[in-house]
Assembly symmetry: C2
Homo-oligomer: 116 residues x 2
DNA sequence: CGGCATCCAATTCGATACTG
DNA sequence: CAGTATCGAATTGGATGCCG
C-alpha cells in the first residue's frame, strides 16, 4: 500500500470526530460533577452551587447552558418570587450513563494501577 | 441529617475523580487521533505527522510524552542513522478500546440526533 | 434567587526557528 | 529524523460587582 491514503482514513476521521463530539460535550471542569449531581434528581441552582464543592456561579451557569444546548439538561423556571430555577437530566442526559460508568471504572483501575 | 455531609458525597467525589482521571488522560486536541492512528499498529514520528492531518511536531511530541507517561504508548528508539523512533500502543493503551468505542457510538448517535 | 458583565490569571495551542 | 525553544494568540476559569 502507498503512504497516507489508506482506504479507511475517511471512516477513521468520522470515528475521531464522533469521539471528539462526546469529549467536547463532556469537556469543561464542571460538566461531570454537574451531571453526576443531577443524576440523583432535580436540583435548584443554589443547591447545585452548594453541592458542587468549589464551583462559582458563573461556571455553573455557563456549563449548565452548554448542557442544556446539547439537550442533556432541562431548565425549568418556577413562577415564584423571587424566581426559582430547577435543573434536571433529560432522558438523553441519562443516556450518558454507560459511557460515564465505563470511564469511571477505567479511571478507577488506572488509579489503582499507578498507586502500586 | 446535617447539611452538606451526605453519606455518599465522598464516594461520589471518588467517582467523579475517576471519570476526571480518564478525561484528563484523553484530554488534548490530538490524543484521540494519536491513539486512533496507533491502534492500527506501530508508527514512526514522521508517519504520525503525515497521518494526523494538521498536527504540528510540537503537539505530537508533547501529547505522545503524556501518553507515554500514562503508560498508554511505548516509545522505541532504533539504532539507525539518523535515529528512527517508533511509537505503539501498549496493552494498557489498547484497554481504552471499550470506552473509546462507547464514546464513538454515543457521539455518532448524537450527531444524527442533532442533524434531524 | 439566578444570573450577566467585566476584568484578570493561567493554560493551551500554533508558527517559526533551531539542534543532535 | 525526531525532536526542543521561544513567542504570541486564543481559550478557559476565577473573582467581583450589578441587575431583574
Amino acid at each position: 500500500m502507498n503512504e497516507n491514503d489508506k482506504p479507511d482514513s475517511a471512516a477513521c476521521s468520522a470515528h475521531h470526530m464522533a469521539i471528539r463530539d462526546t469529549m467536547d460535550i463532556l469537556a469543561g471542569k464542571w460538566k461531570i460533577p454537574i451531571i453526576g449531581t443531577l443524576s440523583f434528581g432535580k436540583k435548584r441552582f443554589m443547591v447545585l452551587i452548594a453541592s458542587i464543592k468549589g464551583i462559582a456561579a458563573k461556571m455553573l451557569s455557563k456549563e449548565l447552558q452548554e448542557l442544556e444546548l446539547n439537550g442533556l439538561v432541562r431548565r425549568t423556571v418556577l413562577d415564584t418570587k423571587p424566581v426559582t430555577v430547577e435543573y434536571e437530566l433529560t432522558e438523553y442526559g441519562h443516556s450518558l450513563r454507560p459511557i460515564i460508568n465505563e470511564m469511571a471504572s477505567w479511571g478507577k483501575q488506572h488509579r489503582e494501577r499507578i498507586m502500586k
